[in-house]
């Protein structure tokens, strides 16, 4: 029983319709995004199901997950705060921003807050160099950019995420 295929029947049909019928594997990345919405990362079962839908080997599917940075095969924070520290952002204080933010949260880049809410990641250029310091927040719902940030504004964003999770009655 392919749970992904059952749950997202219509959405998968819409994705498949974008590509020629004989090139089902073109849908692998859209399907990985779809599956990642469920848990925030990709389980072995999800990769197996996507392999069946796209008629690929499961190792090939896993190699796609491994290659692209926005796919995750391990659970992390519910929200991944991805701070750009590439050259243009670093010229406008991004390294110091990340360091001070991490000090405030008591975690290192790559780590997750003890409540599992937030993981801080250091990432490469996000195409917002003129509005640094900046970061994106990746969550099961999608991606949001936050620009012209300070440690104070970032902590407010985090407080907002925490409040909305508590509003949902979540564990965070």
């Amino acid at each position: 029983m392919n749970q992904l295929a059952t749950k997202y029947k219509d959405e998968i049909s819409r994705i498949m319709a974008k590509y020629p019928p004989e090139y089902r594997r073109s849908a692998v990345m859209p399907l990985l995004y779809l599956a990642q919405r469920e848990m925030g990362y990709l389980t072995d079962e999800a990769m197996q199901e996507i392999a069946e839908i796209t008629e690929m080997g499961v190792t090939e599917v896993a190699s796609i997950v491994g290659f692209y940075t926005l796919f995750h095969d391990q659970p992390g924070g519910k929200y991944r705060m991805q701070v750009c520290t590439d050259l243009p952002c670093a010229l406008r204080g991004a390294d110091r921003f990340l360091e001070e933010l991490c000090q405030n949260l008591g975690i290192q880049p790559g780590e997750t807050t003890p409540d599992g809410l937030l993981q801080i990641e250091e990432v490469k250029c996000l195409a917002a160099c003129h509005r640094a310091p900046m970061y994106q927040v990746q969550s099961p719902e999608g991606l949001t950019f936050y620009e012209h940030q300070t440690v104070e504004s970032a902590l407010e964003v985090i407080a907002g995420l925490r409040a909305s999770e508590q509003g949902k009655g979540g564990q965070a």
Binding site: S26, F67, L126, A128, H130
Partner: protein
């Protein structure tokens, strides 16, 4: 008086609304060519305009289209919206604020090569932009601007978005095609070029977002008008992305051939804290460093003149460095970027970028010896000219030019060892 040709949303509020775009002449060019011009006439007009690819290579767009064989079908057009070069953020503004002009350009390119299905490949981080484009595409379908038998002709066109998932190398056009086909983004051996063997093995044109956004005004106003903007060899407007140590970073649309001085000091408001400018990177992290002499500041930013002062213009992602920036630190930043983004397919890039990152770590941390700066320079020589694609070739630019032009910055961090 409207002044923008590409960033027209800055003159016309709500241009991302289809009705407002059409009220301001939108889709007139597409309708005109589909109903009145042959594909060859469109190609000739774009060739005559002298439009050159805005993604970095600067190759003439009309010429690129003409490489598609007419005995192999179907043809595809893929818009490259993978914008990932550090320092580049122009396509994002176009996609967010002026999406229909881009989509009309994509439709025009599709008609010119008679593609009936075209794709927009966006970097994964542009997920919200892809959703916006999907809404635009649906609105165009509802308005009869996409679909079967357009404007009562036999021409049909459908557009689809496709999201990448975080890989700089996918901006390289053959890696992009691999990714669109559902594989890891590893570049392909060329030849054959995508014009002959591209997406799904079929003839394919890959054009940058900004390149395509130039097409509606070219087809509406003609090649002769277009050539009144910019220079003889680099015609037209360009969006320059200004970042780094300037007061007003941002996108600035100006004719090709505008000087660095005008961009940095008039539009950008000058250097932060009015400090001295040290160097310029005109093509993002892939640039060689150009020392910012008076002569360089007066250099017109077009493909030929910038190359003559030391670096390709690339996608015109102009990163400004002032006297507070240590070039050993900068080399460390770019080396880590390319090391992270190397796809691993070819050894010189995979190992070389790793070595550069490692050595620049030691230099920037003050742990290296003077001979390590030489070693770093040697490593760049072992990468140069030996890589499978441009990512590896460009990975050395800032490191190598940094050592050659700003050696003192490196030596100051390296320990002196008595021999």
């Amino acid at each position: 008086m409207n002044k923008y040709i590409l960033l027209r949303h800055r003159d016309i509020p709500n241009l991302k609304d289809l009705q407002i775009y059409q009220e301001n002449g939108g889709f007139a060019a597409f309708r005109k060519i589909v109903t009145g011009l042959t594909p060859d006439q469109v190609m000739q007009e774009v060739k005559a305009s002298g439009l050159r690819g805005r993604g970095g290579a600067g190759f003439p767009t009309g010429v690129k289209w003409s490489f598609l064989p007419t005995n192999l079908w179907p043809h595809y057009v893929v818009a490259n919206a993978d914008e990932s070069e550090p320092g580049t953020f122009k396509d994002r503004e176009i996609l967010e604020e002026n999406p229909y002009q881009f989509l009309e350009g994509l439709a025009i390119a599709s008609y010119a090569v008679q593609a009936n299905t075209s794709y927009v490949y966006l970097r994964g981080e542009f997920d919200p932009l892809a959703a916006g484009l999907d809404r635009c595409i649906a609105a165009m379908e509802a308005a009869g601007l996409l679909g079967d038998n357009l404007f009562g002709t036999s021409y049909s066109l459908r557009l689809h978005t496709h999201l990448g998932a975080g890989a700089y190398v996918c901006g390289e056009e053959t890696a992009l095609l691999e990714s669109l086909e559902g594989r890891r983004g590893l570049p392909r051996l060329r030849p054959p070029f995508p014009a002959v063997v591209g997406l799904y093995g079929k003839p394919t044109v890959i054009n940058n977002v900004e390149t395509l956004t130039n097409l509606p005004p070219i087809l509406e106003n003609g090649a002769t008008w277009y050539r009144t903007i910019g220079t003889e060899k680099s015609p037209g407007p360009k969006v320059f992305c200004l970042s780094g140590r300037v007061k007003q970073p941002g996108n600035y649309e100006m004719p090709l051939g505008t000087t660095f001085r005008k961009l940095i000091y008039e539009y950008g408001g000058g250097i932060l804290d009015d400090r001295p400018i040290k160097a310029i990177m005109p093509a993002g992290a892939s640039s060689a460093l150009i020392p910012a002499t008076e002569a360089v500041l007066d250099t017109p930013m077009d493909y030929e003149a910038v190359a003559q002062v030391g670096s390709p213009l690339g996608s015109a992602s102009v990163i400004i460095l002032d006297d507070t920036v240590r070039m050993d630190w900068l080399a460390n930043k770019t080396a880590h970027f390319f090391s992270h983004e190397s796809c691993g397919k070819c050894t010189p890039c995979r190992e070389g970028t790793y070595w550069m990152a490692h050595l620049t770590d030691r230099i920037a941390a003050g742990k290296a010896e003077a001979q390590d700066v030489e070693l770093l320079h040697d490593v760049t020589s072992q990468i140069q000219g030996k890589c499978f694609c441009a990512l590896g070739e460009f990975s050395i630019m800032a490191v190598r030019s940094g050592i050659e032009l700003f050696r003192a910055d490196f030596d100051a961090r390296a320990k002196r060892v008595e021999s």
